[in-house]
Symmetry: C2
Amino acid sequence: MAKMSEHTHKQFDAELEAIRTGVLQMGGLVETQVANALEGLKTGNVGLLDRVIEGDHRINLLEVDLGEACQHIIAKRQPAAVDLRLVMTVIKSISDLERIGDEAKKIAKAGKRLHAGEVPFMPRVELGYAAGLALDMLRSALDGFARADVTNAPVIKSQDEEVDASFKGIMRQLITFMMEDPRTISNSLEVLFIAKSIERIGDHAKNISEYVVFLVQGRDIRYAKSAQSAAAKGE
Amino acid sequence: MAKMSEHTHKQFDAELEAIRTGVLQMGGLVETQVANALEGLKTGNVGLLDRVIEGDHRINLLEVDLGEACQHIIAKRQPAAVDLRLVMTVIKSISDLERIGDEAKKIAKAGKRLHAGEVPFMPRVELGYAAGLALDMLRSALDGFARADVTNAPVIKSQDEEVDASFKGIMRQLITFMMEDPRTISNSLEVLFIAKSIERIGDHAKNISEYVVFLVQGRDIRYAKSAQSAAAKGE
């Protein structure tokens, strides 16, 4: 393998730094989208919800740009070891970030239907706790990526379980609601899908945090329990 | 860049072929999981549903194995052009396939709750049409990947729209159901989430079909409308 000149080396470093900061930029944008969607849902600020819906577009384009930058690095630089793990982490993280963006857009659309409907009515279910947790998980995961620090990964994992439990609680509340007053069914389902989106945002944040563990420690912890199993050999 | 020896070249080809067939093997497994989950749901075969739930594990391990094989190729072979696009396509496709596997598992779990519940009751909603479409999309997408053929991509796209429309129809039927008899609400929600899983399977199949277009034509069509937009430059 050809040894890189100092010039090439510097360029390579700059390219790695560019995808790294690209993820953080994209992550910040996604975080804002989620926060605005939840804020608009809470306050009925339809203008804010519209901005979220329109803003999703930029996140999609960032995903394409960063994906291409990763391909360029792979094709030109033959990254190895931690550099390769960074590229892989970026490729995976931008996919999860893009999907978080999609969930923010879905929340914003559902928010508009709830607030702008003929009979504006919002089932009195507390989404704030789960939403706060999911946003916190996203921030922590991006922070872990920024500092290549895995110490918060176990916290994020337990927060994810809390979000899941919270989703189930919200579903039970909504079922009670709907049974007491069947006229609330349509809007309750809107809220149920919003809760589901929040739960998924937590899942994606946990994914990103697991990629950071892979980045730092060089191992894939997603199915750690079973990594030695022979099942993968398959028939 | 060093020119590869014939021996290395043959090895490289074998490695590319291995990840290609790996995706098809994983895809076949995922397809079976989805078909079995839907079959078990329909017939109440709890043993079959259990097998789906246990079988998800193997899919997760295949994802890890194939992901590592892709990393190996990137690190050792410096793939370029269509070879690099194949590696990128595999990295993305296995993520979607793994998520389809998760949806199959969710359907199986919901199926068990519906059939093994204290009051086994299944809202009379026709899921078969959407399910058949989603399975067909998955098969077509994998077939397109196998033959590096993009001719079915527009068909898959329009099938995806049909699945989405079908999901909305199912939701409307379920709402009517629940309003007429609030005792059906819990089970109707199970069916609603099953329908949502079917819709997501269609989304993932469409993603895979879009990666195949990228593989064959070298362009990312996911956000094609806006590819030239300057928005991605961001501030």
